[in-house]
């Protein structure tokens, strides 16, 4: 295709948008609505994902040793833990260190615990990390079997539930987004079809004058692309402004260590780019699909 033909398609595509102005409004509206919903879902899913990942990576196993464990026995337990292949990292924390941490964590109230420094009721602890959160449970079971280990703790319920919830959220979210996109393509192609019945005659004329299908399709491609890009203006703006607002306000309020939203930069920009791409894609697809029928003859 020559550059001049490309320019011609762009010119015609843009003119078509203006000539069929109400259709343009409807199609752009469909893209906008879809993208706003898609954006909301993506923000939700990707942040949930992020939170889950944070929690997963923070997850650890605490193995409490029996009170009467000797120093040699502590070491042999350590060796056994090291022998477990999924273990990426482990640390020993003596009962003295545990007490110190406890006193620190409790702040002023902790001072009353200082009495226990004379007669420490706490256990020695091994803190173990695994590479995958999924490994926590089997590794914990294995460690529980080791001699001199009194009990293991890894927040099993929380982690398991979170993992499951996150998995579901992902599937449901992806399914929802896919459904949304299909609906949008359908909507756009139908909107364009409404005017295309009037345009089918024009397409027939173009064919009679000797236009190839690709030539006829050209302006429709441009039209779809422009519809998608124009349709993504509002969603992109909403994401850039809205997510900033959300980030600033929510992050302060949810000031837990493990709940932290994805930072505005680069997330909002990446999402905007994604929306623009999705908009262009559904616009083009919808538009090109609507002419297909008339080009098949």
């Amino acid at each position: 295709m020559k550059i001049s033909t490309l320019k011609r398609h762009v010119r015609e595509g843009a003119k078509n948008l203006i000539r069929n102005s109400w259709m343009t409004v409807a199609a752009v509206g469909a893209v906008t609505t879809t993208l706003v919903l898609v954006a909301a879902f993506l923000i939700l899913i990707l942040n949930l994902n992020q939170i889950a990942e944070n929690i997963e990576s923070d997850a650890e196993i605490r193995a409490f040793l029996e009170l009467n464990t000797s120093d040699e026995e502590v070491e042999s337990v350590g060796n056994e833990i090291e022998g477990i292949s999924q273990v990426t990292n482990y640390q020993f924390s003596s009962k003295e260190e545990e007490l110190e941490n406890l006193i620190d964590d409790l702040g002023e109230e902790g001072e009353s615990w200082e009495l226990f420094e004379q007669d420490n009721p706490l256990n020695h602890v091994y803190v173990i990390q695994t590479e995958e959160a999924e490994d926590l449970s089997p590794v914990a079971d294995q460690i529980g079997q080791i001699d001199k280990v009194e009990s293991v703790e890894y927040g099993s319920e929380t982690v398991d539930r979170l993992l499951q919830f996150n998995q579901y959220a992902r599937y449901i979210g992806i399914g929802f987004i896919a459904a949304l996109l299909l609906t949008a393509i359908f909507l756009i192609s139908n909107t364009i079809k409404m005017t295309i019945n009037a345009r089918s005659e024009e397409i027939g004329i173009m064919r009679l004058v000797g236009a190839k299908n690709s030539f006829i399709r050209g302006p429709f491609f441009v039209e779809g692309l422009l519809t998608g890009v124009i349709g993504s203006i509002i969603p992109v703006t909403a994401v850039l402004v809205g997510y900033h607002f959300l980030y600033v306000n929510l992050n302060d309020r949810l000031n837990f260590q493990f709940i932290e939203l994805l930072p505005w930069n680069p997330f909002a920009w990446q999402l905007s780019l994604m929306l623009l791409g999705i908009g262009a894609f559904i616009g083009i697809w919808g538009s090109v699909m609507s002419v297909r029928k008339f080009l098949r003859i």
């Binding site: 320019k7 004329i205 009679l208 004058v209 000797g210 190839k212």
Partner: protein
Amino acid sequence: MIEMENVHKVYDNGVTALSGVTTKVEDGEFVYVVGQSGAGKSSFIKLMYHEEVPSDGKVQINHVDVGNIKKRQVPYLRRSIGVIYQDFKLLPKMTAYENVAFALEVIEENPRKIRRRVMEVLDKVGLKHKARFIPAQLSGGEQQRVAIARAIVNNPKIVIADEPTGNLDPDTSWEIMRIFEEVNDTGTTVIMATHSREIVNTIRKRVIAMENGQVVRDEHRGEYGYED
């Protein structure tokens, strides 16, 4: 050169439009195709630009069997023939200029040449001053002249017209005929299906008369020949 060899056309609904048409049109000829409605004039014409394909027999244009070309070759065939219709078939949302230019954009002619050539042809049909008008703002005769301009802008060797004056008043029809004669004078073959006794009997050319899907008369400088 256009050659038809024992051409039959039966439509899907069983109607027989042509039954055994054999004829030949040399380069540069001007031919009227006359006959009553349903005699097969339109089918005769449509076969030439692959709007229809023969059920049997051969239609050849410059030795190309146009009934048998591949789908993707159809656009190229149509670019080499200028076709004019009774209902003009202009693109309603495009200006006169854009309608004519379309035929050149399709062949990816360079934009500067398109501009020059379109204005030249619009001038030839006397519509240079209405280049920016859309079809709805033009009279029937003017619309038909735009259609003619579009048909000839690409300098085709053959111009085919299917009752081009069918929707026009007599004065306008004569104007259209004058343009066709000019086109023919430059060596272009003109084939025109018509119902107009007056035109056929005044501007004398070869006449192919059809009846029941067959050629019943073929004479040079012929007459319209029968009552409507």
